[in-house]
Symmetry: C2
DNA sequence: CGCCCTCTTGAACCAGTTCAAGCGCAGTGG
DNA sequence: CCACTGCGCTTGAACTGGTTCAAGAGGGCG
């Protein structure tokens, strides 16, 4: 158990930057939680009491509109953190975090985070830096939605999650494509067709996941925008 | 001059929450800058040395892709702040801030922000809260892009910027619609057609700006989503 | 084996884009 | 004073990317 928590410290971008004293303080009340696929870490409206470090598995953050429409706001891969924003501000949850696969998450109480920030100003900077970084990634997501087509957004997504493997790259997506589709702002059918289109650019589905034979080709695809509009003046 | 800076303190969401001592420390080196429409507060790649409080006018934050495509990331109304993220982290600017109208901005040096955070832990919390809030607004923007149609996004935008005026509401947009279009992820022509569609819902262009005769009707329009997809399972 | 679930495919359809033309208006210069 | 020009905005018609609806293929499981 203790070693697992130590492992968390090394892989988490927030914890890894904290001093060892701060890290120990945080870990003292940290709890490791296992989640089955489909269960929720927290739900829209809950009181927010902890931030989370995702040790294994994928988490999706969703919001449900009054009329019933669901939007997938973010998708977190192993090693990432989530749920800090609401908990540190002591607000109620503004979204729902659901396990997209079986997950292990490390729950760190907001109380101890805040206390650590008081004791160690450097840790405050780390948290702030983390918030800003999340900001950057949201901006990037916004950018792709505004200027890229569906196929290009998929290409971006694959590039971001590609892991080198011999001569090629592999993307392991241990959950259904329905989720990816919604995340990219597409319908499942459109995603399927987008994958079909990417076959011509060296993207194939293999048993281990999705194989990218030529990463540069994908990057080139993302490089040129179809609806290039230089009419912007002021 | 001194009174203007005091005014800044009261209208800015960050400064208004700071202690008077912190506020004074920040204001000591703050500089008021006037900008003509079209000029840049900062440009992608610059060293980031200040955060800004927008006193008058509108600022657009844009990013230009290598291929030349421009995306409008955010649009700031008077009273809002921008440019804190990169400057506090002492990174180079990741986007460009351009005056969409003639502007007055208060420039606060990153050095003094960081120093104030050291001296006053409460101010650190304020900045952190600000970062989280910006996060929230980006998430909202993402949500609208993913699940709303163009007309609905426009309706959201108008609702957000509507100011009550007698029996009706008025939205003053002191810049060209081209900008609004890009911000909403639409082409100028599509925006024009969207406005035409909203005429049936009580939205008219009048000399003072855009008139909304029935805010509830607009809210209702945003309420029900066309492509409601409940096929989400896990 | 049949059932369910995920993913794919096809055909009709629709929102938003593209390209092109036209209007109203402010600025300019004869 | 008025033609000329440029710009912001609108409108129309053809087109396209993505959706919708419907059907079918493939795999896991009781």
């Amino acid at each position: 158990m203790q070693s697992l928590i130590a492992a968390a410290a090394t892989r988490c971008p927030v914890l890894s930057k904290a001093s060892s004293a701060s890290r120990e303080a945080l870990m003292r009340h940290a709890v490791l939680r296992r989640l089955d696929r489909g269960s929720c870490v927290f739900t829209h409206g809950d009181a927010a009491e902890s931030g989370y470090v995702l040790m294994e598995g994928w988490i999706k953050i969703t919001r449900t509109q009054p009329c019933g429409a669901i939007s997938i706001l973010t998708l977190h891969a192993p090693g990432e953190t989530f749920g800090f924003s609401d908990s540190i501000r002591r607000l109620s949850r503004k979204a729902t975090a659901e396990a997209a696969t079986a997950c292990t998450v490390l729950s760190v109480s907001a109380r101890s985070i805040c206390q650590t920030m008081r004791n160690d100003p450097n840790f405050g900077d780390t948290i702030l830096g983390h918030a800003f970084q999340q900001n950057d990634s949201l901006l990037e997501q916004l950018e792709t939605l505004k200027i890229y087509s569906g196929v290009q957004r998929l290409a971006c997504f694959l590039i971001r999650h590609a892991k080198p493997d011999q001569e090629r790259h592999i993307v392991r997506l241990p959950f259904n494509k329905n989720l990816v589709a919604h995340y990219l702002g597409l319908k499942p059918e459109s995603l399927s067709r987008s994958f079909a289109r990417l076959k011509e650019h060296g993207v194939r589905t293999v048993p281990e996941g999705i194989e990218i034979s030529d990463l540069d080709a994908l990057n080139a695809l993302v490089g040129d925008i179809a609806g290039l509009d230089l009419r912007m003046t002021a």
